[in-house]
Symmetry: C2
Subunit: 494 residues, 2 copies
């Protein structure tokens, strides 16, 4: 059964004095009003971590009660930071089943009321335990990916800086036009370069902010002007280091294949997209994973202006997570609300795109291991594809082999990527140097290094010595001095 | 599209040394093996509070990775303590939509590793904030409902004790035959009466235990021996006191109407049921809400042996939550696994029912505000109902009117129900007397009373004086002494 959208709503993102359920009810009320409806058959609620951010369980009952809809089935859905998209997907199937006619999806998160250290700790819990215990945060892992991307595509440190700053500047510009955005301030390269280093090479302006925000969408079986044409969802390994590639996300590619196939469209059919830019580089990787650009060419598309608001393929016309804000559970649904506004021509004079008949949203859960792709289109869009339609999009999906055998204790390795984290979680020294080290037998381990504090002192691809200390891997540079030190300690093996 | 069950699995309930994801993967592996399948199109995961019990977010990615199924879409679902049933319902719609062919549902919770006070605190977070701040726990609210039930149906204190003990004894007997049960010890009336008072009138043997456990079910579009014939889900007010009735749950009744209607069966067609007996009385209320007995007659059905293992309508042949154990996120799915085993004739010699062609499970989320009813049947069951089928089940659903106007400060009221809680959360004095007081203008407020410590000193229906202290309502008996005390304090108003 085909599924349509009959109403959308969103609260202004930023810092809110309202409790979460009130904020969520506000967005829901706007969506119901937009659809001219009062009753629904079911509600799906996207919240990532209401337990720790707010201290409530059973948000399902709390929210229907707040809405004055006690009785209506209410189910909470969670897929880490893609939760809003996950709730939408889940609701989509309930409507597509024919058992439900009108289903409300509400997504939100309240985060700004906690101290940043506590918020960072909560957000870090989406990271695999084996990487989290080194002090790895989301920015730290994203930074290690950024380093790897720069190395793989031969971007110098300043070229990478240029690319990242362009994403931030573009999205802040777009957000400046969006009345729902948390940040409406345009930024310059100078602002970007002045912003503090969070986890080398990522600065504050590379990271989406901490935000309160909610969004809602009403799905229906009755044809409206907006059709849900494709949804796709895929996961990946829990630990980042267990993947075959650090410069793309399999979960985006596999989710995209499913969404394109269901919608019977190809990347070239998409006119604009909301891409999960929790970290600036993720927008670049996203546009490659989605098939808009070849691998390693996404930054060029950005540089050439293709992805700007008035470019050929606008990416994040809303300002993205970077500027609209990133209430983790809400972002995936907020992207879809923005797409509906564009498709309906309701995006506001300065933001409205000229070509807006079909749009795509990509949402990342965790560090790229629970991703969703959703395609919405105008019901009156002329489809040129007939029965001969074929998916032209053929992304390379590499899967790593898992290493077997007992864990390595010490020996030589190669530094695959690293970061220097300047705001580690409580209990870790700052700055904290973290790296992925490839061992002799080919597996990749996470390792820390308490000595090196400047990025110039480390080089990806160089040989390091790996040892264990208090149950953690530690890597050291193979300098003459470190060799001597180990020799003096009577640990002559390297 | 019709939905069938191709595989089920469960771990032994109790205390487990394994991490949650390993326990969940074990149940899932059993279900996959049972269905002779290795791949699935999607996974739905039921966990109520993985964040606080275990400290992980993103269980979706963690679990697919543990299963060696990284890539497969994985979505976490939560509906408080009915989460297992909520995940099943959600997966059901995804298969019914025709977009998925084989979908795995996995539900679990790990609880025993935390101190009981911490577990109680986490479980209490499903309670409405306005009632939780008085120190109300799940047993306390269930106890207030038990008192109200006894009053409504003229059961003396000893008659109530008799009813409750019979539920516990029956379910412990059934559980003694179940190799998956946490408690396999039969109990006597003496054991029951010796067990400690948790929240008057509920004893330890009235409450389901704290448990680690997981269950899994594989759903499919391919016809198998077991068909999912009906699912229903409904909510209620977040706060218990805002309901029109305390002796039944609207959410069970509304969920049952939907499930019976989808399955095109009536309560009289059901041959056995798993009913959410987190507290003994809830089994009695459940059998009434489901239409098996008239309101107020459920305890008689129990007394007459109807609901025993070899009775006409066995309730909780598995031992129920009481004896199998209650890992909150898993229970709703474990009930369905038990039903499948009965329907297939695989329940084990001593437990197997003779009539087992159609069974029902009822699961309660929170304090009766996120409930689900699911009906499974053998695909070869002879249906006697044709196109003239009609739902004969017509439960009374009363909805309370919300009081308006500013909150009352003090005055006379009537004590609707009360409990004396012997294991309140940290920060509250023990024992803690809590009650619902109906004010002059008809609204019900929660109130505490620091003075009364023996149940004989309080009586439901009696007049009390209501005042506020530190932002909480306090009730006092209208004795001559209390009147004088207030008069001396110059607060002559009563």
């Amino acid at each position: 059964m085909d599924v349509y959208i009959s109403g959308v709503g969103m609260t202004k993102f930023g810092k809110s004095a309202n409790p979460l359920e009130k904020m969520m009810a506000d967005a829901a009320t706007l969506a119901l009003k937009d659809a001219k409806r009062e009753k629904v058959d079911a509600i799906y609620i996207g919240v990532m971590n209401v337990e720790e951010f707010v201290g409530d369980s059973n948000i399902g009952a709390l929210l229907v009660d707040t809405l004055g809809l006690a009785g209506v089935p209410s189910t909470r859905v969670e897929t880490a930071s893609s939760t809003g998209a996950g709730a939408f997907e889940t609701a989509f199937y309930s409507v597509a089943s024919g058992h439900m006619k009108n289903v409300l999806v509400i997504a939100g998160e309240k985060m700004t009321h906690l101290p940043t250290a506590k918020t960072t700790k909560i957000l870090s819990e989406v990271i695999d335990r084996s990487e989290r215990r080194y002090g790895a945060t989301m920015p730290a892992l994203a930074a290690m990916i950024a380093q790897k991307y720069a190395q793989a595509y031969h971007l110098s440190q300043s070229a990478l800086e240029d690319v990242l700053s362009r994403v931030a500047i573009k999205n802040h510009f777009n957000g400046s036009l969006n009345p729902y955005a948390q940040f409406r301030k345009r930024i310059t390269v100078e602002d970007y370069l002045k912003s503090q280093m969070v986890s080398y090479p990522l600065r504050l302006y590379d990271c989406a902010p901490i935000t309160d925000g909610t969004a809602a969408i009403l799905l229906t079986t009755e044809p409206t002007s907006i059709k849900v044409s494709g949804v796709g969802h895929a996961t990946d390994t829990s630990a980042v280091r267990h993947r075959a590639s650090f410069t793309s996300f399999n979960s985006t590619k596999e989710a995209a294949i499913k969404a394109y196939t269901m919608a019977r469209v190809n990347p070239s059919d998409i006119q604009f997209a909301e891409v999960h830019d929790a970290f600036t580089l993720f927008e670049i990787i996203g546009t490659e994973d989605l098939g808009f650009f070849q691998p390693g060419k996404g930054w060029k598309g950005l540089q050439e202006g293709v992805t700007q608001l008035r470019g050929k393929l606008p990416i994040n016309p809303s300002g993205g997570l970077k500027s609209r804000g990133h209430p983790v559970g809400a972002s995936g649904l907020a992207q879809l609300v923005e797409i509906v506004w564009q498709l309906r021509g309701e995006a506001g004079e300065e933001q409205q795109l000229k070509r807006a008949e079909i749009g795509l949203a990509q949402s990342i859960g965790g560090l790229g291991n629970n991703n969703l792709v959703t395609i919405l289109e105008r019901s009156d869009r002329k489809r040129t594809t007939g029965s001969g339609w074929r998916l032209s999009y053929r992304p390379e999906i590499k899967v790593a082999k898992k290493a077997s055998g007992p864990p390595l204790e010490k020996g030589a390795g190669v530094l695959e990527t690293f970061t220097i984290l300047h705001s580690p979680p409580e209990g870790f020294l700052s700055p904290l140097t973290l790296g992925f080290v490839r061992t002799k037998r080919g597996e990749i381990v996470m390792a820390c290094n308490p000595d090196y504090r400047s990025p110039e002192q480390l080089k990806m691809g160089e040989k390091v010595h790996l040892s264990t200390r208090e149950g953690l891997y530690v890597f050291e540079k193979l300098t003459l001095w470190s060799r001597m030190k180990r020799w003096f300690k009577g640990q002559g093996n390297s």
